[in-house]
């Protein structure tokens, strides 16, 4: 009797220790496996605890089922507001590789900012706002059992006569809402909601982007599948004013991706390379003036689709990281003249001044 009580207590103690570590075995997180929402939340806490100088978390809304939508703010502290990069993953529940990528991205920048001068400069000049799982309700639902794995939408109940759940959050933004490529059938995976911004998740993003409009330089939203980099807009008759530049930046990112593992990513607007649609977060970001707004559709091209094998998580994230960094580097360098350029400019100005003054003497 005593023996079994002791063994139960030992089990409790071990489990408690395991639980305190947030289910993270031996305090090292496996970035090559898919993680539950609980594990991701615990990981976010761990990132904040282990990197207090550069990581803080912000709750910026609630999901329909009342969960706190949380982002990690990453960068050196500053007394004045800094320019910023936004990244969200997991707006569509079944696209599990996307949250995996956000976690990989955070790990990479936290692991390199001290040693990589480029990343260090980014931490100085920019803040990263990263939401690893935006549609938390949907993501949790997709983990429930084998029949829910392919859930896409939010988990708000249908309104009126509708007996189906969920709105497609990426059709629910105030960006040509309802114009093209959506469905008014509430059971459809493209149902754009009873009204624009009906979903608290899309409202949370909208409010945050609005409040940080003047800081945000770049909006990146991560999805799967298709191996695409999408530029605004989803409507075939509307062009972004900087379309040419966006295509250039996108194509450079696709090239950076291919250099890693040979995978080919296509670049274009949704009406060109995917299908026309409206109400997307990327379109909303561009419409309110965030100049560099892209959707990433990660691996693969349809062989496994949403159910990407775990042994592809690492390579998929590695290539997408290079693609994202290609864009972020471009955006950073466009807004922050590097020290080298300042030195060169000073040198040339000095030489020119000397030449002019010497010319005047003669």
């Amino acid at each position: 009797m005593k023996g079994s009580v002791i063994s139960v207590l030992v089990v409790f103690a071990l489990v408690a220790q395991d639980r305190l570590a947030g289910g993270l075995e031996h305090r090292s997180y496996d970035y090559t496996k898919y993680h539950t929402m609980d594990e991701i939340s615990a990981w976010m806490n761990q990132m904040e605890r282990e990197n207090p100088d550069v990581v803080s978390s912000m709750i910026y809304g609630q999901t329909y089922e009342n969960r706190n939508i949380t982002l990690l703010k990453i960068g050196f502290n500053s007394t004045t507001p800094k320019k910023a990069i936004w990244m969200d993953c997991g707006i569509h529940a079944r696209e599990w590789i996307a949250p995996a990528f956000c976690q990989h991205f955070v790990k990479e920048i936290l692991g390199s900012y001290k040693t990589d001068s480029k990343v260090n400069k980014m931490f100085k000049n920019l803040d990263f706002y990263i939401t690893p799982v935006l549609n938390m309700d949907g993501y949790i639902y997709s983990w429930r059992d084998n029949t829910t794995r392919l859930w896409r939408k939010s988990r708000s109940p249908g309104t009126g006569n509708c007996t189906c759940f969920g709105t497609d959050p990426n059709s629910n933004f105030y960006a040509n809402w309802g114009m093209v490529g959506n469905s008014r059938n509430c059971c459809s995976d493209l149902y754009n909601g009873p009204t624009a911004l009906s979903e608290p998740e899309t409202k949370a993003v909208t409010d945050f982007l609005g409040a940080h409009q003047n800081q945000l330089l770049c909006y990146l939203t991560v999805h799967s599948f298709g191996q695409l980099i999408l530029v605004p807009y989803g409507h075939p008759n509307i062009s972004a004013p900087n379309y040419d530049e966006l295509m250039e930046v996108g194509l450079a990112a696709a090239k950076a991706i291919t250099a890693v593992h040979g995978k080919s990513y296509k670049v274009g607007t949704p009406p060109d390379v995917l299908y026309a649609n409206s109400g997307s977060s990327r379109d909303f970001a561009r419409l309110i003036g965030i100049p560099y707004s892209f959707t990433f559709e990660l691996r693969d091209e349809g062989k496994y689709g949403f159910i990407l094998p775990e042994d592809q998580i690492q390579p998929a994230c590695e290539e997408a990281y290079q693609g994202a960094m290609s864009i972020i580097n471009y955006v950073h360098d466009k807004n922050f003249k590097s020290a080298a350029i300042t030195v060169t400019a000073t040198l040339w100005t000095t030489l020119t001044a000397l030449w002019i003054s010497s010319a005047n003497v003669f």
Binding site: L14, D145, N146, C187, D189, G268, Y275
Partner: protein
Amino acid sequence: MLSVIHTHLESVSSRLCYATVLRFINSSSSGPRSSPERIMKAFCSLWLLLSLVELSPAPPASQEPPLVCRGATDPAPPQPETQEDMASTGDLEPTHFPARRAAQVALHHLNTLHGSPFRVFGLQQVHKASAEDVAAGGRKYSLDFSVTDWASGSAGPALRCSAEVMFPRTQQHSGPEVQLRCEALQQVSSTAEEHAFYQKYVTPDSAVSAQHLPDSYGNMSEDMQPFWRLARVAASFIMLRESSENTEFNMVQVASITQQESSEKQLMLDYVVLLHDLPSQEIVQWKLLVSWSPDRGVRVLQTEWQPRCPHATKPPN
């Protein structure tokens, strides 16, 4: 039974415990990965047992999946939309979706002819494409593209193909017509692997049965790969038949496979496959009766579209 356990687990245990046990149930082939997880598993199993012994009430009826679907089921298989004809005639951009969709259709056709448990072709790249309107309102695509065999992995060579894909535009949907030529296609040679696989499973006492290939994590044992490929080839018959310029199908998952008694020396398999259509983002479920042998190739004998529920429906109040 399993769903009752799941519901009960969800109500009595924490999410972490639930997720651990769920993963254990789902990945019975791969055991727990480390000792904390094993301890967690033991603890959760103990917790579950104790909670069952406590006379806990039966899960409320609203949490049981309804026996008959109530309310709306998933929409019917995507129909071609009456879409404003935005497709251009003449040369098409190879990276844009119209060329890609037509190439995928050509690939479905290729797989119906030459696919096997050890050969499934996937699109590598479209090189050139053009389209023209043809008589009776149809549209014909001319394509130059490369394909690879998924079964040979990254080591495999790319085959160059050309095809004409004609999408008829009739009142009622009828499938596209494909003419196809690929270089170096070994038409008749079935491989040693195919014969070994055939011999192993055509025996009278073979009764292969499995669910969810791959599993939720994208994992699948080596043994089941040929069955997955066979499903993918069989699915090509459906995807070909259902395709239009407004669809883009892939097979997401094999929901279930049940081997039937071999007939006329053919492997007979009952499949339920889940297809995904990109433009509508819908998941479509089909039941297929499939026969295969190295000599006769893949044949789809019966097909049945299955409505998907209950996850889309609200529980009854």
